[in-house]
C-alpha cells in the first residue's frame, strides 16, 4: 500500500543573526492510512521542526534546504502558499503542545473550533455549530453547548487539549499530527488524551504522527516509531520492539534512562556527553559518534545510512547493522 505521507531526506536550516542552525539534516519517514507513527528523541533532536516543516508552519527565517514532503505523491514543499492553505486543517491537521498558547485568548472556543469548517467552506452558521458541538461531545467534553461559548481561559489544560483535538478533527483530515500533545498535562490526563487519540485514529481510519520525548508513550500509542538524533532518523522500528529490541545505541541509551515500572529497581543511566550543537558545522561521520559507547573507527569518518536489520526495522549504525548481519549469518 502506498504511503499517505512520505518524507524524503528533509533538511531544515534556521538562518538568524548571521548564524545557521541545522535543525533537521535529512529525515526520511512515511505513514500509511490508518497507521500511526511515533517520532521520539531528546529536545533539540529536530522532531518538532520536522512535523512543522511537513505542515509548512516554520517561521520565515527557516529554510528547507532540501528534500521532499509527499502527500499522496504530491510534493507540498513545491506548492504555492494558497494551495498549501487548502491542505492545512483539511488534509492534515495538527494538535500542539500547549493548548492555552495555541488558542486565541480573546475569542470563544466555539468560534475558533468552527474556523476550519468556514475556512474550507465545509459548513457555516448553525450547521457548523452543530458539528462542533457533536465533536466536543465525542472528545469527551461535558455540556458542550455551554463550553462552546466559553473562552480558553475558562478551560483546564486537559479539556482545552480535547478542544484542540476536536478542532483538528472537525474538517475530517487524512493525517493528524500531534506535537507533544500531552507534555503540558497531568499524568492522569495524559493517559486519557492518548487513549482518545488512538481511538479516534482507529474509528476514523486516518493516519497519525505522534511526536513525543516519551518512549513509553510512543510504544503504547503508535504502530511504528522513528528515533531521531541531531535532526536525522537513527532508527525505524515497530513499536512492539522499541523498548525490548531497539538496535541503535542512542535508542538503547534513551530506553536505559527512561524510568519504568518494570525496571523500577534500577537507577536510570543518562547518556554520556552533550546533545549535538546544531549551530556548529556537523561532524563528518555519525552524528552520535561523540557520545556513543560502541563507537568504532568508521563511525567518525562515514555517516551511516538506514539499513534493514529485521523486517520493518531499520537502523543507521554500522555496529548495530553489522551485528544484525552476523546474527543472520549465524542463524
Amino acid at each position: 500500500m502506498a504511503a499517505l505521507l512520505e518524507v524524503r531526506n528533509l533538511a531544515v536550516e534556521f538562518h538568524r543573526d548571521r548564524a545557521v542552525s541545522r535543525a533537521v539534516n535529512g529525515v526520511t519517514l512515511s505513514v500509511e492510512r490508518g497507521k500511526s507513527l511515533g517520532i521520539v528523541g531528546e529536545s533539540g533532536s529536530g522532531k518538532s521542526v520536522t512535523v512543522k516543516a511537513i505542515m509548512r508552519l516554520l517561521p520565515r527565517y527557516a529554510r528547507s534546504a532540501s528534500g521532499a514532503v509527499l502527500l499522496e505523491g504530491q510534493d507540498v514543499m513545491r506548492l504555492s502558499e494558497g494551495r498549501m492553505r487548502h491542505l492545512r486543517g483539511r488534509r492534515m491537521a495538527m494538535v500542539f503542545q500547549d493548548p492555552h498558547a495555541y488558542l486565541n485568548p480573546t475569542k470563544t472556543v466555539g468560534s475558533q473550533l468552527v474556523e476550519p469548517l468556514i475556512l474550507h467552506r465545509l459548513a457555516a452558521g448553525a450547521e457548523a455549530k452543530r458539528r462542533a458541538v457533536d465533536l466536543l461531545r465525542l472528545v469527551g467534553i461535558p455540556s458542550p453547548e455551554v463550553r462552546f461559548t466559553q473562552y480558553p481561559f475558562e478551560f483546564s489544560g486537559g479539556m482545552l487539549q480535547r478542544v484542540m483535538i476536536a478542532m483538528a478533527l472537525i474538517a475530517d483530515p487524512d493525517l493528524l499530527i500531534a506535537d507533544e500533545p500531552t507534555t503540558a498535562l497531568d499524568v492522569t490526563v495524559q493517559a486519557q488524551i492518548l487513549r482518545l487519540l488512538r481511538k479516534l485514529k482507529e474509528d476514523r481510519g486516518m493516519a497519525m504522527i505522534l511526536v513525543t520525548h516519551d518512549l513509553v508513550v510512543a510504544a503504547q500509542t503508535c504502530d511504528e516509531v522513528v528515533v531521531m538524533y541531531g535532526g536525522t532518523v537513527v532508527e525505524r522500528v515497530p513499536s512492539h520492539k522499541l523498548l525490548t529490541a531497539s538496535a541503535h545505541p542512542y535508542a538503547r541509551g534513551l530506553i536505559a534512562c527512561t524510568p519504568r515500572i518494570s525496571n523500577a529497581d534500577t537507577i536510570p543511566t543518562p547518556i554520556a556527553g552533550q546533545p549535538l550543537n546544531l549551530r556548529e558545522p556537523l561532524p563528518g561521520g555519525c552524528l552520535f559518534a561523540a557520545r556513543c559507547p560502541d563507537r568504532v573507527a568508521q563511525c567518525t569518518e562515514v555517516r551511516p545510512q538506514l539499513e534493514d536489520v529485521a523486517p520493518d526495522h531499520q537502523v543507521a549504525c554500522f555496529v548495530a547493522a553489522g551485528a544484525a548481519k552476523e546474527g543472520a549469518v549465524h542463524e
Partner: protein, 321 residues
C-alpha cells in the same frame, strides 16, 4: 474593577480640584484682574472704571463672584458655577455669559476632534497591518519612517506643512472656511496624522508580537491565511492595547484643536480660548481651560474603562463581582 474605577475617579476629582484651584489662584494673582479689586475696597471703582464698567455693575459683579467672602468661598462658587454650568460673564463680549460661547464653540471642537480620531484610526489600521505583515521588508521600513515623522511633529506644524504642500504648492485644497466638507480635510488631517504615526507604529509592533505568537500558528495550521490571522485574530488583540495609546493622544488632540482652529480660523472653543488669552478675558480663559482639563481627564478615565471592555478576562470577572 470597581475599586480600580473608584480610585481612578478619585484621582480625576483631585486633579480637577487642583486645576481649578491653580487656575483660580492665578486668576486672583493676575495683574489687572478685577478679582484683585476686592482687596482694596476703594480700588473697586477705579478698576471697574478702567474696564468701562459702572460702579453699579461692579457691585453686582462683586456680589455675583462673592468677592467680599474669603478666597475658599470664592473658589467654591467658581467650581460650583462650573459644575452646574452657570459660569461667569465674558469681559471681551460684555453681557455674554461664557457658557453661551462655550455652548456653541465647544461642540464644534469636539466634532473636529472626533473626526480626527476616526480618521486617524482608519488610516493607522491599514498602515500598521501592512507594515506588520511585511515585517522588515522595504514596505515596513518605509511606512514606519513616515510614522516616525508623524510622531515627532505637533499637529500645528503638520498643519502648516500640509498647507505649504496642498494649498500653496499643489493648489489642491482650501485653507480658509468651514462650510464645505473639503474645508475640513486639512484641519482633520493635521490633527489625525500625528496620531497616525503613534498608532500605526504601536499597532505594527503589537501585531508583530501577535504574529510571532503560537495562536497565530494555530490559525495558519487550520488553513487560515496570514491576513485572516491578522484581521480576525491578531488585530482584535492589538486594538486592546492600542486604546492606551489613543488615550494620551486624545488629550493631545484636544489641545491640538486649539492651534488648528487658530491656524485654519475655525470657530471652535480653541479659537475663543486664544482670543481670550490675548485680551486677558479671564472668565472665558478659566472656564474654557477648566472645560478642556475636564474633558481630558474624563477621556483618560474613559480609556481606562474601555480597556476592560475589550478583555474578556476582565469582563467575566466583572460578571462575577
Amino acid at each position: 474593577m470597581v475599586r480600580f474605577l473608584a480610585r481612578r475617579l478619585a484621582y480625576m476629582f483631585i486633579a480637577f480640584l487642583c486645576i481649578s484651584l491653580v487656575t483660580f489662584m492665578l486668576m486672583k494673582m493676575a495683574p489687572g484682574s478685577f478679582f484683585n479689586a476686592n482687596f482694596q475696597v476703594n480700588g473697586v471703582s477705579a478698576v471697574a472704571g478702567s474696564y468701562g464698567v459702572s460702579p453699579q455693575v461692579m457691585d453686582a459683579l462683586i456680589k455675583y463672584y462673592h468677592l467680599n467672602d474669603p478666597w475658599y468661598v470664592q473658589w467654591w462658587y467658581y467650581v460650583h458655577g462650573f459644575l452646574t454650568w452657570h459660569m461667569g460673564t465674558s469681559f471681551e463680549y460684555p453681557g455674554t455669559r461664557t457658557v453661551t460661547i462655550i455652548d456653541t464653540a465647544f461642540p464644534f471642537s469636539v466634532r473636529l476632534a472626533l473626526m480626527a480620531v476616526a480618521t486617524g484610526v482608519i488610516i493607522a489600521i491599514p498602515i500598521g497591518v501592512t507594515a506588520a505583515m511585511r515585517e522588515n521588508g522595504w514596505m515596513d521600513v518605509g511606512l514606519m519612517f513616515f510614522a516616525m515623522l508623524g510622531t515627532s511633529l505637533p499637529a500645528y506644524l503638520v498643519a502648516v506643512l500640509l498647507i505649504v504642500l496642498f494649498a500653496l504648492w499643489l493648489h489642491l485644497l482650501p485653507v480658509i472656511g468651514f462650510t464645505h466638507p473639503q474645508d475640513f480635510i486639512l484641519p482633520v488631517l493635521s490633527l489625525a496624522l500625528p496620531m497616525v504615526g503613534a498608532l500605526s507604529r504601536y499597532l505594527r509592533n503589537s501585531l508583530i508580537d501577535s504574529l510571532h505568537s503560537e495562536y497565530v500558528t494555530g490559525v495558519i495550521a487550520k488553513g487560515g491565511s496570514l491576513s485572516r490571522a491578522v484581521w480576525r485574530h491578531a488585530l482584535r488583540n492589538s486594538l486592546l492595547p492600542m486604546i492606551t495609546v489613543v488615550g494620551p493622544q486624545l488629550a493631545g488632540l484636544m489641545t491640538g484643536t486649539v492651534f488648528i482652529e487658530e491656524i485654519f480660523d475655525l470657530p471652535g472653543l480653541g479659537h475663543y480660548f486664544v482670543g481670550a488669552a490675548n485680551v486677558r478675558d479671564y472668565p472665558l480663559i478659566m472656564d474654557s481651560a477648566l472645560l478642556y482639563a475636564t474633558v481630558i481627564l474624563a477621556m483618560n478615565l474613559l480609556v481606562d474603562l474601555t480597556y476592560g471592555l475589550f478583555d474578556p478576562r476582565i469582563r467575566r470577572a466583572g460578571d462575577l463581582g
